[in-house]
Amino acid sequence: MDEISKQPTIERPPVGDVSQYPEQSAEEPIVIANEFADVVIRKVETRNGMRLDIWSPRRGSRILLDAVALDCLTFQEPELISELLERRPAP
């Protein structure tokens, strides 16, 4: 791995320092947390389908993953996540 070439892509993602939760939603959001981080996860209905919304309240960052993105995560090696964590620590 080239230690020098890694560049942060953007300073701040375009979505997400405030996450709007539907007030009438029957489904409770799922919280995944350990001593290092915490995220709030929710299934989001779009007009024509659905996505998984992962929100990091501490950072204010958020990602919306569709089935194809989630499916491709299922066959990645754990090292992929380690590589992602080599980037700068915050958006």
């Binding site: 230690e3 020098i4 964590l85 080599e86």
Partner: protein, 438 residues
């Protein structure tokens, strides 16, 4: 607590202690002294294999617990590929504690100071402002967490700080035969029933190791209420019966108490007994079937106890296993870790009953535990008194006992169960380490 003596006199004291053990004497001072404590940290806990965790405490990728060897805090984690690693719980950047929680699940550990991030196996992966700050000078492979050697036996994970120490198998030296009596309860082995109880006690760790290396002598007195009220199925008149077995030169020892009327495998469900007869060797079955109480210590500070305890006075009761670790935190002061082990293949009902019997007798609020710590804390206090500085205790029971030629297991087995042979072996090994000759 005594004052710290000159180092020369400490070396002389260790030598005198070694000579005294051979004639059945051991000094009280060993149980509460700053210099002895410091020497143990330097020469004993830095060399021995020390218990870290049971594999069932970290069954899934990312599971971790934090534990100690001597005064070193370690992260014991199962990595994303299922391998178990132990690393010093300290960020390599500026030394902050990595894992502040005692247990958890994480794919990566991230330091709360400057954000250095490590895989759960200990390799450094994330360094904030790597390019801007370090300008290519920092090689991540050189700055992983400090790794500790690990090895395991039947689910028990041990760590050793000494890269030159012999392997765990050799260190256990045949004591595995007796560990199986606690660990091979059925074909699935055992698992922990929840996290350990743990608490600080003003007691020297060695008193506990000695007691659990087979002190059947204290039971009818310290725990007499259990005999009198019928909660513990033994009798004062027969309690001395059984074997005391030690592994010479290794320090490990076990007491195997017999009860003349106690049925073989009593206190276990029948289906589990059938499995145990397969998981244990015929020699182990012979030893086990005559044993009511098995109380043993792996040198230096890990112990096990298997015994029945009854909720109904006069009944055989339920057999349970407790595993305990005595973590020294100062002269005459320790942190006790106490687990209940249950057979993996047993019914939920039996697991619950065994845990109930364990909590009634052991753990912080356990009745037998309170009896013991009341005595052990007083022993520790006494050992710190100035006048006790040169006082020895007698360890002369069984001085002339010949080994039992009929005994089917490894090691040095003597009768009766009430015996000091295991303790002389324990102190002899302890003194070898303190003398730097282990």
């Amino acid at each position: 607590m005594n004052t710290k003596p000159e180092s020369q006199s400490l070396a002389a004291w260790v030598e005198e202690t070694r000579e005294g053990i051979d004639s059945g004497r051991f000094p009280a001072r060993a149980f509460n002294d700053q210099a002895v404590y410091d020497l143990e940290q330097e020469r004993l806990f830095s060399k021995t294999w020390c218990f870290l965790a049971h594999e069932s405490e970290i069954p899934h990728p990312g599971d971790y617990v934090t534990r100690y060897i001597g005064n070193n805090n370690l992260i014991v984690a199962r990595d994303e590929h299922g391998e178990i690693y132990a690393n010093l719980n300290m960020c390599r950047h500026r030394g902050n504690v990595m894992c502040k929680a005692e247990m958890g699940n994480a794919s990566h550990f991230r330091c709360s100071y400057h954000g250095w991030t490590y895989k759960n196996s200990g390799e450094l992966v994330g360094v904030p402002y790597m390019k801007e700050g370090y300008e290519g000078r920092l090689k991540r492979k050189d700055w992983g967490l400090v790794r500790v050697r690990v090895d395991s036996y039947e689910g028990l994970v041990f760590g050793c700080l000494d890269p030159e120490a012999p392997p765990l198998d050799e260190y256990l030296g045949g004591f595995q035969f007796y560990l199986d009596l606690y660990l091979k309860h059925g074909l699935g082995g055992v698992e922990v029933h929840g996290p350990p109880d743990h608490w600080i006690a003003d007691t020297d760790w060695k008193i506990c190791t000695e007691n659990f290396a087979g002190d059947g002598y204290h039971t009818p007195v310290a725990h007499q209420w259990g005999f009198h009220l019928g909660y513990f199925p033994s009798s004062g008149s027969t309690h001395s019966q059984g074997w005391a077995v030690s592994i010479p030169g290794k320090g490990h020892g076990i007491g195997l108490g017999h009860g003349p009327n106690f049925p073989p495998f009593g206190g276990f469900p029948d289906d589990l007994v059938a499995e145990m007869k397969q998981s244990l060797s015929p020699e182990q079955v012979e030893v086990f079937s005559r044993t009511r109480t098995a109380v043993g210590s792996v040198f230096p500070n890990l112990s096990f106890l298997m015994q029945p305890f009854s909720l109904e006075p006069g009944e055989i009761g339920v057999r349970f296993v407790t595993m305990r670790l005595y973590h020294p935190v100062g002269p005459g002061r320790m942190e006790m870790y106490s687990w209940c082990l249950v057979p993996k293949n047993a019914s939920q009902e039996y697991k619950k009953e065994a845990y109930r019997a364990y909590t009634l007798a052991f753990g912080q609020a356990g009745t037998f535990e309170q009896d013991d710590f009341e005595n052990w804390t007083k022993v520790t206090q006494a050992a710190g008194m100035t006048m006790v500085r040169d006082v020895d205790f007698p360890y002369i029971m069984g001085m002339d006992s010949a080994p039992d030629p009929e005994f089917p297991g490894p090691g040095h087995a003597v009768v009766p169960y009430v015996n000091d042979t295991n303790f002389r072996n324990l102190w002899s090994r302890w003194a070898d380490y303190l003398a730097g000759e282990a």
